[in-house]
Amino acid sequence: MKNLFNRLFTIISASAVLAGFAAQPAFAHGEKAQEPFLRMRTVQWIDVAVTKTNLAVNDETVITGKVHFMTNEHWPHSAAKPELAFLNVSAAGPVMVRKASFVNGVNMVNSAKFDLGADYAFEIRLKASWPGKWHVHPMINVKDAGPLVGPGTWVEVTGSHADFKDEMKTLTGETVNLETYGTENNVKWHVIWGLIAVAWLLWWLAKPLFHSRYAKVKAELGDTLITGGDRMVSAVVLVVALGLTYYGYSAAEARYPVTLPLQSATATIPHSPSLVEGVKLVLDRATYRVPGRAMEMDVSITNTSSKPFRVGEFNTAGVRFLNPEVGVMDELTKQYPSYLLAEKGLTVSDNTPIQPGETRKLHLVAQDAAWEVERLSSLIYDPDSRFGGVLYMYDTDGKRLITEVGGTLVPTFAGT
């Protein structure tokens, strides 16, 4: 009999797990699987940095950076505008817990509206919970547009999860361990009610069930099947169901007199100074050379700032193509994930500084295997064949000016 129950339990478990999987949200990391147009034409991630990449359990690390929302001209028509969006993290589940997050200094426990063409500074504080090597990305979920994933960094956590401590003081003065808080009480109530349910089921399962009862019911003798004992047990079960519900509810109300409903407000984010200034850019033509993994852009750039500048970088979907002639290997760049960094990826036809007020036609080539590796090249198969990104200019003081670039893209397939 015990053996039978073991087998039964295994079969139930298996079918339950199968049924559960059907309802689970997709878990895959999948940052490269996303359509290139969503990664190139929605938001651009700028100066993303992670304070610590080697942590012990309980240590905290902070992801900071800026995110530029592309203007309406480039934002894809097929993606919803960021009327409601949430600063999130893409990671392998809660291997690190999120202690706090901010956009332009505003607490981002809630969702908020973001504006096209605007820039936002973000900060995400994570606390290491499970040992392992984790790929962590900042991410913005835009309602009806999907997750927009930023550049990912490998973070290594050492130690043991058993040492993980995540305490918090409530407004009613209790200190609780968030990971285990209430779990015992949850299980206790499930067990109490479960036992009553099982007792009720056993009362019936102990009787001959289907065969003989069916025969009697069909002979219209069904009512004779109900005994006085059945009625008595049912009455008791009814009273217990009502009584225990009342008791559980009152006990909880007495134990937790101060409770609030779930909170869900939307945040309002003030604008920060725009990163996009001092440059006017017109895209004349852009092509993507498939065999060479190179995007070529003919642009007219006008310097509307007060200092001469040069083109230093093309950045799209987290991939950074640097112009080695202009030298922008700062600390942030050195720490940037190497698989997203094309150190010599950008060639500019003329590297002499563009003077204030001058308009110059330039030929830019952004070439790297990253086009393939990051699966951005598949944008040539998109229905609208458009790209987007940002160019970084560096003026003679080393100041960075940013401008959007984007438009239609013509693929060339022959090897030239």
């Binding site: 039978l4 999120r98 808080y181 169901a241 519900t245 909170q263």
Partner: protein, 260 residues
């Protein structure tokens, strides 16, 4: 055999053609019972769990979705479905009243297995974020009322209402603890909100939560009881609907009953 004589007396009294089973047939019937129970348990667990996850899924799944409106209304209404259908089958054919309790017990066992093994064991989400709600109080009351009244109309009105109405107070016994307020960098949240925020869910951004919206909110402090009352009303209707779905599914019109 005394059982036979009693049964024969019943037959005589009822004036029907009931032929009692022989002791041998009785024994075989009992063995078959367990085969039927095993098959029923498997089918019910899989089907009900799938149905429930597809309808009340996120509300039941996450601690920070269990609000005073949608969760309280949707969960019991989506759960009473199978209870009604199984009630029909077990009561009309066998005069057995434990269908609702059976359904909700299997559901919660399946939920615990998936969440404990997959989401806690594998993906490290804490159990408190994943604790399922239970329907035991309402299901036990519904079963008991069906037996005591012997009527699907009464079971629907009284039992169905209790199924909907007892859901919230029944679960508040464990859920209340998570509605204690905390302050997070100048914003008030419940512990449930914060536990949900802390544990990164890539595919479940905050705005996706459908909670605390709509006109029910105008009832202020009394949202939960109002939602529970609304759930009670809907449960009665849905119970009856699914009672007939049970009838439809247990139809034997294509099988001849000659020789039974």
């Amino acid at each position: 055999m005394t059982t036979t004589t009693t049964a024969q007396a019943e037959v005589a009294a009822a004036g029907t053609t009931y032929v009692p089973l022989s002791p041998g047939a009785e024994r075989i019937g009992r063995a078959l019972d367990w085969v039927i129970v095993a098959a029923t348990v498997l089918v019910l667990t899989g089907a009900f769990h799938l149905h429930f996850m597809l309808t009340a899924g996120d509300w039941d799944f996450w601690l920070d979705w269990k609000d005073r409106e949608y969760w309280i209304v949707l969960s019991p209404v989506m759960a009473i479905t199978f209870c009604g259908a199984v009630h029909y089958i077990l009561w009309q054919h066998f005069r057995l009243p434990f269908g609702a309790t059976l359904c909700v017990t299997l559901l919660v066992v399946a939920e615990w297995i998936v969440r404990y093994v997959g989401w806690h064991g594998w993906s490290h989400y804490p159990i408190n974020l994943l604790t399922p709600a239970y329907f035991y109080p309402g299901a036990l009351a519904l079963d008991a009322i069906l037996l005591l009244s012997g009527s699907w109309v009464v079971a629907g009105i009284l039992g169905g209402s209790l199924f909907g109405f007892l859901f919230f107070p029944g679960n508040w016994a464990w859920l209340a603890a998570y509605h204690v307020p905390v302050e997070v960098n100048g914003i008030v949240m419940t512990l449930a909100d914060y536990i949900g925020y802390e544990n990164i869910r890539t595919g479940t951004p905050e705005y996706i939560r459908i909670i605390e919206r709509g006109t029910l909110r105008t009832f202020g402090q009394h949202s939960a009881p109002v939602s529970a009352a609304f759930a009670a009303f809907l449960c009665t209707l849905v119970y009856w609907m699914w009672w007939f779905i049970g009838k439809w599914f247990s139809n034997v019109k294509y099988i001849t009953s000659k020789g039974l």
